[in-house]
Amino acid sequence: MSVKILTKHFGIKDSHKINVYMKNGGYKQAEKALKEMKPEEILEEVKKSNLRGRGGAGFPTGLKWSFVPKDTGKPVYLCVNSDESEPGTFKDRHILEKDPHMLIEGIIITSYTIGANEAYIYIRGEYYPQAIRLQEAIEEAYQKGFLGENIFGTGYKLDLKIYRGAGAYICGEETALLESIEGKKGKPRLKPPFPAAVGLYDCPTVINNVETIADIPTIVEKGGEWFASLGPERNGGTKLFAVSGHVNKPGVYEHEMGYPLMKLINEDAGGILDGLKLKAVIPGGSSVPILRAEECDINLDYDSVMKAGSMLGSGAVIVMSEKTCMVKALSRLIHFYKDESCGQCTPCREGTGWMLKIINRIIAGKGRKEDVDTLYYIAKGIMGHTVCPLGDAAAMPVISFINKFRDEFEYYAINKKSMVE
């Protein structure tokens, strides 16, 4: 039995309501943190926990917090990234729906630690029912005095606001998210300066993913060392894995870091649909390199997946059976990145459109033999040449799909039809 941190309340009736959350020990850690711990002590526990950013980049959370400069005279902001738009990713939605108070408690502790009196949750515009639920939870927390002035009688003040996005994947990139809250087009900023120093309204800002923040109350409760002990070295805690595609039981499954990928697919998610064979897996959301079935005997933690040539990303596991046409599958992803490119950097803006034209041409039966190489080299030309990681995110699937399934792409281009359909 795996340890459950983030999903421990999921089965409880009305788990999203504050009374239910409090009956199960909720807000005790925020009280403990504010009353009994200094911000430095909490930071130390988070550093010890080896918690790494759950949005996809896997950056050590404690280290990120420690970059916030002290005594600049400016306010400090916390922005919670709930833009969750990476295809295949739906884990944060489950937290928003079933345990919004765990998130809010995490926000209180985090804000106190970094010295913020104002926090924002940036939620993707499509998550409308979830935004309503979250707003209700925030209002409950205000009523109980967990938000607002003088929280737990400590004199500490925190305001929490929801800011709704409006259908732009790029706003999940942290600096684009800040631009969006500032009422601008979501175009990523050049770094440095990093948001820790110059963030929202030019003030020091920490941006963390929903799942990352939801881990914080448990780290305060059980200590950083306990959390770190759950996963392999440098990969603390549990992770929500969102499994989708050709499996019998798509869903969110929580396991300790380092959980075997094949066990997740075959046991948790009930195996491949219709008893078919596994063909490939994208292990961390649509942006990360694809793995062939024979490469899937790996453990799910940041370092192990990296060693296998891909990335853990957001923990979104997209499963494809032997019946999947990889050319058509890739066309979906290219279409997405073309749609979502903000247009700021030429390689990404032009490259994604060019790749889409070529792959659509192949699918329409008008492919040329050299198309596969052209696709590959356009992707190589985008990789590493853009302000933000969206360029790399568009390039990595193309490069990895072609590297691993080149025969299928060439077959389609030459024979004007899919090899598997």
Binding site: P87, T89, D92, Y128, Y201, P250, I318, K328, R332, E340
Partner: protein
């Protein structure tokens, strides 16, 4: 030409201005509020928001057209948005969208002649555990089959 602003919308505008007092931050919440009330973001709406925030109308236009959720033209009473991304495609997007097209007699990007339905293809909605998925106005519908689509669309008045 100016637009008529209802009492409800006027109240919302004040709330937004108080909640997000800094710089241009009210723009996105205002765009949402106007679209909720009026269905789409017209040139007049852009001018109105520009006046409220103190920016040029073209600035509001730049922002509103950057974000795909803001409609710059009227849409049907029910805006059907079908996810065409990887997971929904793996689980039958092609068949699902063809079925809806045929049932409503419109293509993607079109509105039925009675103004009831607009059909769009959108990117991942974050509901991959229920693929194939569509969103109609604010509501999500997952695990779609032909029968389920009939049931949902036929129940909308």
């Amino acid at each position: 030409m100016s637009i008529e602003i209802s009492e409800n919308l006027r109240k919302k505008i004040e709330e937004i201005k108080n909640k997000f007092p800094t710089g241009k931050s009210p723009i996105l919440p205002l765009l949402h509020a106007f679209q909720d009330e009026l269905g789409y973001i017209s040139l007049e709406v852009e001018e109105e928001i520009a006046n409220i925030v103190g920016v040029s109308p073209v600035y509001v236009r730049e922002v509103s057209t950057f974000y795909s959720m803001f409609n710059n033209q009227p849409v049907g009473k029910y805006h059907i948005q079908v996810c065409g991304n990887i997971t929904c495609w793996l689980r039958g997007y092609d068949e699902i969208v063809e079925y809806i097209k045929k049932k409503l007699g419109i293509d993607i990007g079109e509105t039925t002649s009675d103004g009831k339905f607009t059909l769009s293809r959108v990117e991942c909605l974050g509901m991959c555990d229920h693929a194939p998925v569509m969103q109609i106005n604010g509501d999500f519908y997952g695990d779609l089959t032909f029968e389920k689509i009939d049931e949902i669309l036929d129940s909308l008045e």
